[in-house]
Amino acid sequence: MITILTDALTIAAKDLRNEFKTKQTFSMMAIFAVLVILVFSFAFDPTNNAVKAVIPGLVWVITIFAGILGLNRSFTSELENDCLTGLRSGPIDATSIYLGKVLANFTIVTLVQIISIPVLFILFNYRFTGSYFWFILILFAGTLGFIIVGTFLSALSANAKNSEMLLPVLLLPLLSPLMIAAVQAMRAALENENLENAVSWLQLMSAYDLLFFAACLLLFEFIMEGS
């Protein structure tokens, strides 16, 4: 059990180091997130006060769009030099590959959020009045669920030739309950009202996270098995 965790940390550290040597994926994701914000500011006039209502949704839209870019690379980058086979033939459990990837992807997406969400608030001239604690908690739970399912499906779709097209098609329907909950919870937290509402949505999100984490952990080795 502990070796699984240390192996996962080793893999995550390798992934992050590999990424931050060039920062290519990361900077692409950040720029893409900001571009999405820009496009949305054309679509909804940011000077209009009613636009505040779409902010909670936009937080998740940029997270998912930018996140999918990174998730696409997560396993296809292992195909260069056939590194994935190197990992699979090594003395490690398949679950530690999954855990390591989840950790690395979560870190990268969180960093993208740290850049893009302030940009969103600034460009939409949004004054943050809600509670930081709940905001961050909801952001954490939602992003975690997104990465849990996304990493799993990224490994699944990496087997296909058109993996970057397949991943969103597989991922978005599965994310829908999480996103409904995340947007509602975020709205409640940002508008600082109905915190009980936010809590019950947060419960749904945690249930989703736990359930899918367990299922993905169990099923991941079937994806890693070659045939």
């Binding site: 080793t10 893999i11 070659g226």
Partner: protein, 240 residues
Amino acid sequence: MKELETMLELKNVTKVLGNKLILRNISLSLGEGETLAVVGPNGAGKSTFFKCTVGLLQPSGGEIILDGEIIKKKSVAVKKKIGFLGHESFLYSNLTPFENLKFYGKLYKVSDLEHKSMNLLKEVGLYLFRDVPIRSFSRGMIQRLAIARVLLAEPNILMLDEPHTGLDQEAVALLNKIIKEKQKNGKSILIISHDFEQVHTLADRVAILKKGVIVDTIQLDGKMSLNEMKEWYDKVVMGG
């Protein structure tokens, strides 16, 4: 022939992929300190055979025993004893040689990692470039680093999948030098190759895999010449 402690044993290994029977009842054993080469025509199931022995694929029937332990899906500890050198290097091109070795060393739980990897880098002649991302390396250099990666974990058995293809003269010489050294140290080696010259210089025993069956094995022991071996191979593959 002297009695050898068996390192790797395949018992009636069968592998079905799709509707095709790729491997049929393969039984082979590899003694400690022995070098076995598996040769065969294309499509004979060499790579499937190899994937089964390194634990990437599960055999549909029979079992593979390495150092007294059956290789199963979950047998993590056994895999530590395998040094697997494949076609590809399994190395991360954004990382430096040193970082690559450190990563694999951690996964294989190598003790005294820094010291060992430095020594290995010197051995394969990459010490000078230890801090350069391997993206800019030539194929030969990457292959040398791949050799270092395999040796780092100090495996009991080396499994080499066509190790000589795509190597320059220098790297071939280095690889052969290292293999010979390991032979002297009593390590078992399994080579899959179609390079007869190299097989002849390295192997103690040669097995021919044809249509998923081991059709014949022969003891080399340095007595048989390269041409004799080739003749034998042609006879076995063409006949029957």
